[in-house]
């Protein structure tokens, strides 16, 4: 049961990581990175590391995503795609 769950999660992790690298739009990459963080938190929970999982969920999926989105909107790459 556990190994099946882990296999599925790892496949999705690989997919999210590849998506983050290969997407053309930086915004898409950032969102994939957030998905990667959330999946990583799930992996940590399955491996019985709830402390790390909590930090990963909050930092990896929440903070990093918002910081990156703000940085993107402040730089030229963001200014092109979403004019203010």
């Amino acid at each position: 049961m556990e190994s099946a769950l882990i296999s599925v999660l790892l496949v999705f992790l690989l997919g999210a990581a590849s998506a983050a690298v290969f997407f053309d739009s930086i915004l898409n990459s950032i969102i994939s990175l957030g998905v990667f963080g959330a999946l990583m938190a799930a992996v940590f929970v399955v491996y019985q590391a709830p402390d790390v999982a909590m930090a990963q969920a909050v930092v990896g999926a929440g903070l990093i995503t918002s910081f990156f989105v703000v940085t993107l909107s402040k730089t030229s790459a963001g200014a092109k795609s979403e004019p203010e």
Partner: protein
């Protein structure tokens, strides 16, 4: 072309990691071996009073490391605040639609309480100052995005966050210094006479809840300051 290079690099890195993985002794790495892990698992609860051994290690055995980590956050906040020059005023954003505002209204108190729970129960259940503080920081980020920075800065003043962060850093050091006055090494816990209480109860584990509270305040204020410094603009701009 770029993607082909990225693919080759990724595969190369993956091959390196796989070959490193095969070097780990498979039968043993799941077991706790060596003196320190065995000692922590057997005596950790008596030594620290914390049921959650991870927090016990972070805030008792290796509390000096934790002090260093919070100094890293302090330095990062100071650097970012210097980089995004002072004298900028909050960007008067209108925020999102009223539907988003009402939904977040419902959500905010619960997020606040979850953060408080994670910080205050750090020595009993998974979590601790860092996780809870980050939850609180995401709360202010949510407010910045949904209500606009103007509203957020009125609700929680910029200077208050700065004071809170510095105060939490001082509190962290003071809790550590209590042990010095009792004649024990810096940041000692139960040995220095902090009441241990019954492990598993909310008021227990000596100075661990105090350190958790200080770290939580510090991380929440610090990360919130970082985000706020990044989103605000010069008064002339935009």
């Amino acid at each position: 072309m770029k993607k082909a290079v990225a693919l080759v690099l990724m595969l190369l890195l993956g091959a390196c990691l796989l070959s490193a993985l095969s070097g780990i002794p498979q039968a043993e790495y799941r077991l706790l071996h060596g003196e320190a892990p065995a000692r922590i698992v057997q005596h950790g609860m008596d030594d620290t009073g914390a049921v959650n051994l991870v927090t016990g290690v972070l805030f008792d055995y290796r509390s000096f490391d934790t002090l260093g980590e919070s100094t890293v956050i302090f330095t990062a906040v100071a650097g970012i605040m210097m980089l995004f020059l002072p004298g900028q005023v909050p960007l008067a954003g209108k925020g999102l639609s009223s539907m988003a505002k009402r939904s977040v209204d419902l959500l905010l108190p619960f997020v606040l309480i979850v953060g408080l729970y994670v910080i205050s129960h750090g020595h009993i259940s998974p979590g601790g100052g860092f996780q809870g503080g980050t939850i609180w920081a995401t709360l202010t980020i949510l407010m910045c995005i949904v209500y606009g920075t103007q509203f957020e800065s009125q609700f929680i003043e910029y200077d208050a966050k700065k004071t809170l962060e510095s105060a939490a850093a001082v509190a962290l050091l003071l809790v550590g210094a209590v042990a010095l006055f009792a004649g024990y090494p810096f940041l000692s816990n139960l040995a220095a006479g902090f009441p241990g209480g019954t492990p598993g109860q909310l008021v227990s584990a000596g100075h661990i809840p105090w350190l958790n509270a200080a770290v939580g305040m510090k991380v929440a204020a610090g990360l919130s300051l970082i985000f706020f410094s990044m989103v605000k603009k010069k008064s002339g701009e935009g």
